[in-house]
């Protein structure tokens, strides 16, 4: 507690949290967007699937890629993006592929264009899967970020915590861990909220969403 008060008074804690949060957000956005796009692409097109799918699985098994990027800011971003990419990619891909073919056929009979078919049938059908990917990816975001910041950084919560460890400031170490936990929880709550909102049609997610409408 004392550590929290001391560090917030000096503003240090906000600076570190802000930097960590920005890194997480940027890495998540980058990895999430590419994962989402390629997931859709490979889910919809067999050609794209043949071209990219096994390539991605290959990259996944080469963790040493990080050596290319060294240990600077870029590397942290890359590490987070890579970690986020796969859960989002795989779940988007799987979700797009497993949309009920009966519904797609119905859409064709009832005169939907390709564009409408995607917007009204395929995307909403894949959404539950995609959100599972998002939730999983958010966990990975924080995990990889902690590792990256702990290994090498000159700012961020990971840096703050490692630094504190060097000086035996146990209270700051605990504070760092708490902040990480809090941020992780916050991110998870956001996805749950999104699930409630976007999947209110789904009996399993409805919760209070149905009455709210």
């Amino acid at each position: 507690m004392a550590a929290a008060v001391r560090l917030s008074r000096s503003g240090e804690i906000f600076g570190h949290t802000g930097i960590s949060f920005a890194r997480a957000a940027a890495g998540f956005a980058l990895g999430g967007a590419t994962g989402f796009v390629f997931g859709l692409l490979n889910g919809l097109s067999h050609t794209a699937e043949r071209l990219f799918d096994s390539t991605f699985q290959m990259i996944r098994n080469v963790p040493h890629l990080i050596l290319w990027f060294g240990i600077d800011e870029q590397a942290k971003l890359f590490l987070v993006a890579l970690g986020v990419f796969f859960p989002i990619y795989l779940n988007t891909y799987h979700g797009t592929r497993t949309v009920d073919p009966g519904l797609i056929e119905m859409g064709r009979v009832y005169g939907l264009t390709q564009n409408e078919l995607f917007r009204h049938v395929i995307l909403p059908g894949a959404l539950p899967s995609i959100l599972v990917g998002v939730r999983y990816a958010l966990g990975i975001t924080w995990l990889t970020l902690i590792v990256a910041e702990t290994v090498s950084a000159s700012a961020g919560i990971g840096y703050m915590t490692m630094n504190a460890r060097e000086f035996l400031q146990t209270d700051v170490v605990v504070l760092g861990i708490l902040i990480y936990a809090l941020l992780g929880k916050l991110a998870d709550m956001t996805t749950v909220w999104l699930e409630r909102r976007w999947l209110s049609w789904h009996p399993a997610f409805a919760g209070r969403g149905v009455e709210a409408q």
Binding site: L103, G111, H202, P203
Partner: protein, 255 residues
């Protein structure tokens, strides 16, 4: 006489009418497996035809060919003189499962694929099937029978001239099925579209259809005309007799 009765009703109610369907020398093969062979069937505008047969006899395949979802290996299908080489906008299908979009509310499901001012027409269609009160519900909270009624409303909202029914009542309980049969017959009389019903329930076929076509191993084995006044009472002796004959034919053919 009977036909005159229905036509008179339609003339009075200003029905839109149906299309003529002509199936000539149609064969369909999947690989080496032959599903339909030399099927010929002419359906008059506004006629109600039921196709019955064992599972795997090709009746659903024939329906898919008429709908334009699939194409024959040989022969041709014409709707009002136009060869069916795509899904025609005047054709609508009701599937065995309702196939509602679970993420769209009932009203939006009914209006799917409609352009422009579709809401009032969708509400009207829902009223026709007696579900206007459920317009803002999710499909997940409806019963099986209600979902099929929504699917029927969805098919009706575009005022189809050809309605293809692919065992749409097969999964419903007996009482709901009777209600649905009456509803289908009612809208068929009102709107005057041509209807083709695929079913394994001979009783249903006899109750609803002007003609019952028995399909056996991909060929038409029997065409039975039924001219009884509508609505036909359940348990009618005459109809029961016809039903018995068709059933006997089906069982015999299976041997």
């Amino acid at each position: 006489m009977v036909q005159d009765c229905v036509e008179e009703l339609r003339r009075v109610s200003g029905a839109i009418g149906g299309v003529e369907v002509r199936v000539s020398h149609v064969a369909k093969r999947f690989g080496v497996h032959s599903v339909l062979a030399d099927v010929n069937l002419d359906i008059r505008p506004g006629e109600f035809v039921a196709i019955v047969g064992h599972s795997g006899c090709g009746k659903s395949t024939l329906l898919r060919l008429i709908s334009g979802l699939d194409f024959p290996s040989e022969g041709g299908i014409e709707v009002d003189g136009q060869p069916v080489n795509r899904q025609l906008p005047e054709t609508r299908i009701m599937f065995q499962d309702a196939r509602l979009l679970p993420w769209r509310r009932v009203l939006e499901n009914v209006g799917i694929g409609r352009r422009g001012e579709w809401k009032s027409a969708a509400i009207e269609a829902l009223e026709q099937v007696g579900l206007a009160a459920r317009a803002e519900d999710w499909p997940a909270v409806l019963s099986g029978g209600q979902r099929q009624r929504v699917a029927l409303a969805r098919a009706l909202v575009s005022r189809p001239k050809l309605l293809l029914l692919d065992e749409p009542l097969g999964a419903l309980d007996a009482l709901t099925r009777l209600d649905m049969q009456r509803l289908v017959e009612q809208v068929w009389i009102q709107q005057g579209f041509t209807a083709v019903l695929v079913t394994h329930d001979v009783g249903e076929a006899v109750t609803l259809a002007d003609r019952v076509v028995v399909l056996e191993r991909g060929r038409i084995a029997l065409v039975q005309r039924i001219s009884r006044v509508r609505p036909r009472p359940r348990g009618d002796a005459n109809l029961g007799e016809i039903e018995g004959e068709i059933l006997a034919r089906l069982l015999e053919g299976n041997r």
